[in-house]
Amino acid sequence: MAVTANGMPTKEFFINMLTRDIALNDAILDLLDNCLDGVVRQKGVDGKKEDKNYYKGYSASITISKDSFCIQDNCGGIPRDVAEKNAFRMGRTSTTGDGLPTVGIYGIGMKRAIFKLGKVARVRTKNAGKAYCVKIEKEWAEDADHWEFPIDELDEKDIPFEGTSVEVTELNSIIQNQWNTEEKLKYFVETLTTAIKTSYSLIIQKGFEIRINDKIIQANPVELLVSTGEKGIKPYIFEKTYGSVSVSLIVGFYAPTPSEEELDDGTEGRRRSEDAGWTIVCNDRVVLYNDKTHLTGWGEAGVPSYHTQFIGIKGIVTFESTNPEELPMTTTKRGVDLSSSIYADVKNKMRDGLKTFTQYTNVWKGRISEERTHSKEAQSIPYTKILEADDAFRESYGIKAKKYAGAIVFKPELPKPKQDKPYVIIRYSKPREDVITLHEFFYKDNSLPLNPSEIGAKCFDILLEQSKEQKG
């Protein structure tokens, strides 16, 4: 008999190693992804992209207590043969792709999440009227040879609707430590809520309902500034289909450009919500959120690095495909796959869009109050509405996209300052006390908020006036 080396995978690897690569919140998001993929399997792909209420009627409910975790959905359940053959294997085989726009690809999410959380689990599911329960026991991990999980038959009345519940008990000690007091549990729920809002807002807007400990999570819709006139603040838009992947890109201002004071606030470490940056969405799922690094084109190929001057710029790129392996996301679904050739091409457009707006903030630098006349007349509109909109709606906002090379592109012509004479910026600092004295001198009312740059400008104007008078 030939001598061989043992290449068997160990359970240790799946239970202790793979779970290290993922944060707890992300592991729970993986379970939510499974719910959504369930909806896609139920409803099929037809009209997914256009249907604004695609997920309506579907929901997932997460219950967290100090010694158990449970997620329950009504998203169709796991077909019995899938459970027996694939769903509980550690990883997916190449034949299991189903040609649907899901986000699960690797067949690892549910198991990884379970072992991240605890040692014992019950996966109860009902599909096509058949209800059963897959049991993961504590002893499973200790037995190196047997990889099967027992299945118990359930009465179909035990599960009220076609769907799945994953319940984990015997929590790992690290998890226990995070949930063992009421305060800590509350704080965890808070951070999980933030994570879900960040990643699932789009899905919630399309009708999916997510609850944590019976509290419904609200979507956080993203809005961009659009003005109605021919010229004015408008977003940059790019849409193209690459094989099975359709891409929509939109970038623009979500907030007016910051004033000098706001820029200074940023350097003083004042915390404010920074909603700037790129968000990348794959099959409705956010994989990168408000990114401000080279991953999304900042600080490369002529685009400046992110700086508070660009705090108003926000972009969203959505990738949709019936073949999820083509999507530019990493295995954890928490990042973009930079080796994707589709992403490389889209990234050129992302940089092009970014430059349009970084350039805009540059040309208006030092003339913020003049610039504000433009950004203030623009309205905030949910970006989804702009992307979904028909030509007539777009044209009512002066968005006339051009079609070329298989793509739809709209590059806005943003307002420019009147090129009467070039401007320079003057910056200086003076004792606060003295600035307050001048503030009172100019306004005769110390209850008005102090605006140092305005006072500086007034001083300049007065002296300039004087010098002109002397000359005259």
Partner: protein
């Protein structure tokens, strides 16, 4: 702490709140060496809290932080005891550079300005981050939701007139936007516009402080044991609605138990983040005070007061407040010097 309010020490509701604090420390003195603690606060030039700390609790290590150089000179002139050290610096700078070693302190961040809320909460976080177990932290914030109506962008014209034109929903929405801009991620996820009311806004602030505290002190034994036990919080108004939270930093759950036992008889104590006591004492005459105090303490005091007096002295909530805090009711008298 501002010069614009010369009668700072005469604010009766604040006076009671301050008294509750000293009373709470008085209880804690049974299990903690309060007299050895450092007291750090914003004494301005009146030092009301400092006087109480020194005379009632024997604290002699005291530091007052004052940013305004003029008030600072005035404070040096007015300071009542030699053991008060006055630091002329910004409170954020002070907190970020302070190093107490292993000494314990009682730190009262007595803020007033609503527009600096974001900085105040991040100061609270920095303070917690450098705190020692058994430190006592107290923070006062402006809890007047109307302070969120104002201008968001400095270029905007004053919108106080425009506010009058808006519906309640629109005002609430605007307030929440301002709050979000001021405190960013510290804001709890589930806050809705309809919580931007007088009654609910203090609770939102308390939950914000809880979230901020948890983000710094996430107890994770064995290497990270610190947590904050909230002791009590109060909402009161002498012109502007204010909120105060008092808590103690601990590193041992058993210690939390003994703190709870020690304070079990102290009625304002809730040990919870979001159940503040309301302090809204009614203005009463000497004669009324003596009469009502004769009835107290007593189970159905409010009914008795209403039955025995042929006139109404205050609304129900104010009578309740008086019954809860009559022991701390201030008596201000005119004195000619």
């Amino acid at each position: 702490m501002s010069e614009k309010q010369p009668f700072y020490h005469l604010r009766p509701n604040k006076y009671i709140d301050r008294n509750l604090f000293t009373q709470c420390l008085f209880y804690l003195k049974r299990i903690l060496p309060i007299e050895d603690y450092y007291y750090i606060g914003f004494g301005s030039f009146l030092f009301d809290d400092f006087k109480m700390m020194h005379t009632q609790l024997d604290i002699s290590n005291m530091i007052s932080i004052e940013n305004d150089p003029n008030v600072c000179r005035r404070a040096k002139f007015n300071k009542p005891y030699s053991c008060i050290q006055i630091e002329n610096c910004d409170s954020s700078d002070y907190i970020s550079s302070m190093d107490m070693g292993d000494k314990n302190c009682i730190f009262w961040m007595d803020y007033t300005s609503p527009s600096d809320l974001g900085r105040q909460i991040s100061d609270f976080c920095s303070l917690l981050d450098s705190s020692n177990p058994k430190d006592i932290i107290r923070i006062t914030l402006n809890a007047n939701p109307a302070a969120l109506n104002g201008k968001i962008q400095s270029e905007d014209e004053d919108d106080s007139d425009a506010i009058a034109m808006l519906t309640a929903e629109e005002v609430h929405k605007k307030r929440l936007t301002t709050l979000k801009a001021r405190i960013g991620d510290y804001l709890p996820e589930d806050v809705e516009p309809d919580q931007m009311t007088r009654g609910a806004y203090p609770i939102v602030l308390l939950r914000t402080l809880e979230k901020a505290a948890m983000s710094v002190l996430f107890e994770n034994p064995p290497y990270q044991n610190r947590f904050i036990l909230p002791l009590f919080s109060s909402v009161y108004e002498d012109g502007q609605q204010m909120l105060t939270l008092t808590g103690i930093v601990l590193d041992d759950r058993d210690e939390a138990k003994s703190v709870k036992e020690c304070l079990s008889k102290f009625s304002p104590i809730t040990f919870s983040w979001d159940k503040p006591v309301q302090i809204e004492i009614p203005p009463l005459t000497q004669k009324e005070i003596i009469y009502i105090n004769n009835l107290l303490p007593c189970e159905n005091a409010k009914q008795q007061i209403k039955d025995n007096l042929s006139f109404s002295i205050a609304k129900d909530s104010a009578i309740d407040s008086y019954i809860s805090f009559y022991k701390y009711y201030p008596n201000f008298h005119h004195v000619s010097l």
